[in-house]
Amino acid sequence: MARAVTPRRKALNTLIAWTIGLILFFPILWIFILSFKSEGAAILSPLEVLRAPWTLESYQIVQGRSDYFGHFTNSVVISLGSTLLGLLVAVPAAWAMAFVPSARTKDILMWMLSTKMLPAVGVLYPIYLMFISLHLLDTRIGLILVLMLINLPIIIWMLYTYFREIPGEILEAARMDGAGLREEVLHVLTPMALPGLASTVLLNVILAWNEAFWTLKLTAAKAGPLTAFIASYSSPEGLFYAKLSAASVMAIAPILVMGWFSQKQLVRGLTFGAVK
């Protein structure tokens, strides 16, 4: 139902929304500004920081001191790898739960979701010990496995919601038209679920990219993704705000760009089912 909004009210709402938006965005903006200042300028008061000269010094130092591309590659491999491996398990699982549900389907879904309520640190020791005995510490494959398992409930839930939106009669029509299971999935289900698959992939790549707890605990030098790269600049020896900021900008830039270009898809994916 449309409600009448006076222009003054509208202006006020806009102002409030922008203020909240800017407050939320400010830390990222500040990191961005600091990354272009010298280390000495970065610890000054905010006004002085803004007046200090702009420089690429921090980026050069960070680039020279650590292996950005190594970490970047690890991030790409781990986030894509865990998402694709997750899809391999989640697509058949979600298909079965959406189209041939049993009396227990709802319970299984809730149980999977409940695993997300467990604090990660609660299973740190068992997983750490398993990683030691399986020689998975500081390996990409180890991280791919653990991140896949952690995000699997979300992937299955998202796909399940998408598949549920596909009317069963359309799949039955395909069956009547002579399609076997393979053709049904290939020609009817997949094309219809494509937007859902795309936003599931996007969201899970982002989640895996940003995951810091496991990536920091289970890696050292070799398999560390960009989260480990940032963390290496917050050291106990002293404050390196400018370099930390430069490292952060370098770490979040790729995912920010990806998120920017896929905004529409992402919003649709996250609000699917809620807004139609």
Partner: protein, 334 residues
């Protein structure tokens, strides 16, 4: 050929017996309508024939061969769904061609058959549109097109017209009947609308609570309903069913008289009543009367020119040759 036989076919979901074991034969080329109130199991029965539901017992024979364990894709039947169930991501052309593609026909043959079906169904100028860009009637035609291209052994229609508006429904009803006359293929049509059943069917199967109440041609059901359920369900306006002492006078627990078989007169008749609402349709007039002798109001169908004032006193007489008598269990007394 498309002769379909159900032998002791039953369906239950858990402990709920939707369809108790039933037998039914649908002859090749016959237009059979399953009709009944919602929840009577008519759609389930159709889905059992299609193979979209597994039977809990009994067997489905298609042309004499046991099809009970054959998946829907291999039964050689085509189905038109209530929701049309078109593939939203494909053009009309691809929708219609889909069953041909699944059957592995070559491109040229696919094109030829799609063009032919589009011609028959007036869809030629819409072939490159998506289903979302079509009206309800056009979507229904595409669904029918998708069913006819593969020349199936039988067509299954699951309430195909219930999403269309009244005017379009009458038009599509005729088109489907035309199609049947032309193709002479077996058709099984599910509806809750007895007018559709009466106008289209060669054979009507009246269902209630999963049981077959009566099977017969439209006129057989109209003339000799085997029980009070069929009597009340078939015919529009509904048959007047009268129980109690007035029925006892005719040696029955319930008597039934169709509105068109009652004589209405201002002077004399068997029952006295007052005129309630009159519905003037032009060709006919329906009078709803209140008779002190019966509990329920009585409907009378009279020629269009007849008119009575609201509250007028009138007399009714049944035409005895059209009076139906039923026993206490609802069964017909001959």
């Amino acid at each position: 050929m498309g002769r379909i036989q159900l032998n002791r076919v039953a369906k239950s979901f858990g402990n709920v017996h939707v369809i108790p074991p039933l037998d039914l034969t649908i002859e090749d080329g016959e237009f059979t309508v399953f009709v009944g109130p919602s929840g009577c199991g008519k759609s389930t029965l159709l889905r059992l024939i299609a193979g979209l539901e597994d039977v809990s017992g009994g067997e489905v024979l298609i042309d004499g061969a046991d099809a009970t364990a054959i998946p829907p894709a291999k039964r050689g039947l085509a189905m038109v769904f209530q929701s049309y169930a078109l593939y939203p991501h494909m053009s009309v052309r691809k929708n219609i061609a889909f069953p041909l593609k699944m059957a592995g026909l070559d491109k040229a043959e696919q094109e030829r058959r799609v063009a032919q079906a589009a011609e028959v169904l007036n869809l030629t100028s819409y072939l490159d549109r998506r289903p979302g860009e079509l009206s309800g009637g056009q979507r229904q035609r595409v669904a029918i097109g998708r069913a006819i291209v593969r020349e199936p052994q039988a067509f299954l229609f699951d309430e195909p017209l219930s999403n269309l508006d009244a005017a379009l429904r009458v038009g599509m009803r005729l088109e489907i009947s035309e199609l049947h006359k032309r193709l002479k293929t077996t058709m099984i049509y599910v509806t809750h609308d007895q007018v559709e059943a009466m106008t289209m069917a060669d054979k009507i199967v009246v269902l209630q609570a999963g049981r077959i109440e009566q099977v017969g041609s439209p006129l057989e059901l109209y003339r000799r309903p085997c029980n009070t359920f069929v009597a009340g369900f078939i015919g529009s306006p509904k048959m007047n069913l009268i129980s109690g002492p007035e029925a006892a006078k005719f040696g029955a627990a319930t008597i039934g008289i169709r509105p068109e078989h009652l004589e209405i007169s201002e002077a004399e008749g068997l029952w006295e009543g007052t005129v309630g609402v009159s519905e003037h349709l032009g060709s006919d007039t329906f009078f709803h009367l209140h008779c002190p002798a019966f509990e329920a109001p009585i409907t009378v169908r009279a020629p269009g020119e007849r008119a009575f004032a609201y509250g007028a006193r009138v007399y009714l007489s049944p035409r005895s040759e059209h009076l139906h008598r039923f026993d206490a269990a609802g069964g017909r007394i001959e």
